[in-house]
Symmetry: C2
Subunit: 406 residues, 2 copies
């Protein structure tokens, strides 16, 4: 049993170290005493673990405020400059990129718009590399580069980083994570892993760890972008399904006799609550418009627009009933344009939700994203930080990658 | 670190013991060499673990067949008579009960029909106790009684055993598991824990561990009884949601302008593929009939019945598209009357499924239950065995319960 004992001892140490670093990364500065209480470890164990993290530069300790009695507890703080990730929210019409430091601090950020004609995979990679240059310029050399995370509006195999289908980009079977890694390597030499994920999955994770659904283990994030995406967190972990394709709630059929969906099916939720459905409340033609224009019309008292938007709200509610009955979540977060319209159609939506089964209905609340537009970007950064947080010492070991001169 | 080291050592031993017993319980007799290969433990560790289980009477060892060279490996066999559970499949019109032994062997089994008027919770408990007497008569005294598992057609909080809502029984907020435990205790003295679960959840678990979806981690079991229930296994574990109410796929709205559902909503999947929908293919009135009559009419060439049943098949397919897009499962198992009608409407169902998103569609197959009518009963027995399989030595320790004279 010697081998398994030794390895289990290592495993315990690793687990404890990860628990402490995760707490610091997500919760921010904390006293040693609070770490003792939070982790259930004893005082000396916490001391040893913090010392290890401090030695790697991941945290620093400073004396806290002096209380009425006794000496002040040391405050442990994550060091944003000690370890960074590159994060991208790759949308249909633009890309948002950022360097995020340990603890979640945004160190630099850029946003670039993109024409449809520039959305081919190879051109998109070029744009990303260009943004990476600009973003990393502000990072001191020899900073630990933990990873790169990308959110995309499509069906992504999160294990391989291959985009299986992204209808709004016109992509099919694009090995995007690998393409980005290869291009980054060409520019920067050794680079860490690139993780690609569905944008709504990342939004769900971000709202779960840092946003509207902290402390809730079962969370559904419904993203209203051009289409409708979904991310589902169950028992604290992202639901992926057999191949990482789970959570495509926008293609739940709610109106079988309705309009054709661009996925090839008919009456998908996306056809009745997607951006086009909202914009069509203000005019019959599908000419350029803005969701805010629709909301402004309602606020200005245009009854016809309100009626039409209520129709969208009813469909929103019908789909939410399904998700509540199927998943029994504590929180449903409405992102993008769904979060924009919810305040003006809340009555209609809630009337529908009252038809969900009593038991799951009593446990659920509808929430707006706390992270606003940045849910996916922050989720992408968390996906890139995951390797460091799971195994802190391995991530800062010999095989780790540092930002080099460009 | 002494404490956490010692406890982690215990934890490793416990984990290994559980792994070996689970393998034996689900997979049946196996040689020591195969246990070494299956568990990744070394030969002497496996020897120690098997000896511990043998000492408790849970397994026996016998020499296997002699090969061409070397001495025969010992064959380890679970002992069905060493530990048993009581399992009940509590349906709308009858209750099936069984004593199941370690390894999954049915030791005794009874089935009792029930009038609607006899379905009140207290009368139902009386019937169960009566069945328990009959079932346990065939079990030798001093046999380890691990637990009692019950599957019910309703929304059950699996942590508390409270039936929140069972429309077809007319139950609301019935603490059924506790009622059964209390009644069993009155009759038998000390009794083990009673676990109550949704019937389709148990069907899903049973087909996942012993039936049509072994080796698939993501499985949806759609049960067609009077209503439509659902059990969802994700990543090898049952999806429960916030309060244990997850998986109510029968109340997914697919036809918002359709018929009122007995849940109070409109156009639930259950209204278009429930038993009443199938029976209505043969006659407009809702008079007594049988699903097999409908199928026989189709097989006899009655075009009108075939057309109507195809309509049910289309709705079945529409709901399956939703589940495939939402969950990305490897297997969807169609239980009860859905499994009966599938063979005669497979073309229509599969045509609908072809509208699911390509990536999840390519990974899924539709299957019929391998365990037939017994999926829920076997799932109930597995839910009762869970405590023994998770912590074998604790379950046979001082606090364990044995079958006593009645």
């Amino acid at each position: 049993m010697r081998t398994s004992l030794a390895s289990s001892q290592d495993e315990v140490r690793r687990h404890n170290l990860a628990a402490v670093l995760q707490r610091l990364h997500l919760g921010g500065p904390v006293s040693r005493s609070e770490l003792v209480a939070l982790t259930g470890l004893n005082r000396s164990t916490v001391g040893v673990l913090v010392a290890e993290l401090a030695e790697q530069g991941l945290v620093v300790e400073e004396p806290g405020a002096t209380g009425t009695v006794g000496r002040p507890s040391l405050i442990v703080m994550p060091q944003p400059g000690s370890a960074i990730v590159l994060a991208f929210d790759f949308r249909v019409d633009r890309t948002v990129g950022a360097v995020i430091g340990l603890g979640g601090k945004t160190i630099s950020r850029v946003e670039r718009f993109r024409e449809n004609s520039e959305s081919a995979p190879d051109l998109s990679v070029l744009q990303l590399i260009d943004m990476a240059h600009e973003l990393l310029e502000e990072v001191p050399e020899e900073t630990l580069w933990v990873g790169t995370g990308i959110g995309l509006p499509g069906i992504v195999n999160e294990r391989t980083g291959v985009v299986s289908q992204a209808p709004n980009l016109g992509w099919i079977d694009v090995p995007f994570a690998q393409m980005v890694t290869d291009a980054l390597r060409k520019e920067f030499g050794e680079v860490p892993t690139t993780v690609a994920s569905n944008d709504a999955d990342l939004g769900a994770l971000a709202e779960h760890t840092r946003g509207a659904a902290i402390d809730s283990g079962n969370v559904i994030y419904v993203s209203g972008e051009v289409g409708i995406g979904g991310g589902v967190v169950l028992g604290g972990a992202l639901m992926t399904g057999a191949g990482g394709f789970g959570g495509e709630i926008g293609h739940m059929i709610v109106n079988p006799t309705g309009a054709q969906c661009r996925c090839g099916s008919r009456g998908c939720w996306e056809t009745v609550i997607g951006r086009a459905a909202v914009l069509s409340c203000i005019q019959d033609s599908k000419s350029v418009g803005d969701v805010q224009d629709v909301i402004n019309s309602v606020l200005a008292g245009e009854v016809e627009v309100q009626d039409k938007l209520n129709g969208v709200g009813r469909w929103l509610g019908i789909g939410l009933v399904n998700l509540i009955n199927i998943f029994n979540p504590e929180v449903v977060v409405l992102g993008g344009h769904l979060g924009q319209i919810y305040p003006v159609v809340a009555d209609v939506v809630n009337e529908q939700i009252s038809h969900a089964l009593r038991a799951p209905r009593e446990q659920v609340r509808v929430a707006l994203p706390v992270l606003g537009e940045d849910s996916t970007l922050i989720g992408a950064s968390e996906s890139a930080f995951a390797s460091l947080l799971a195994r802190p010492m391995e991530a800062v070991g010999e095989s780790s990658t540092f930002v080099t001169s460009k």
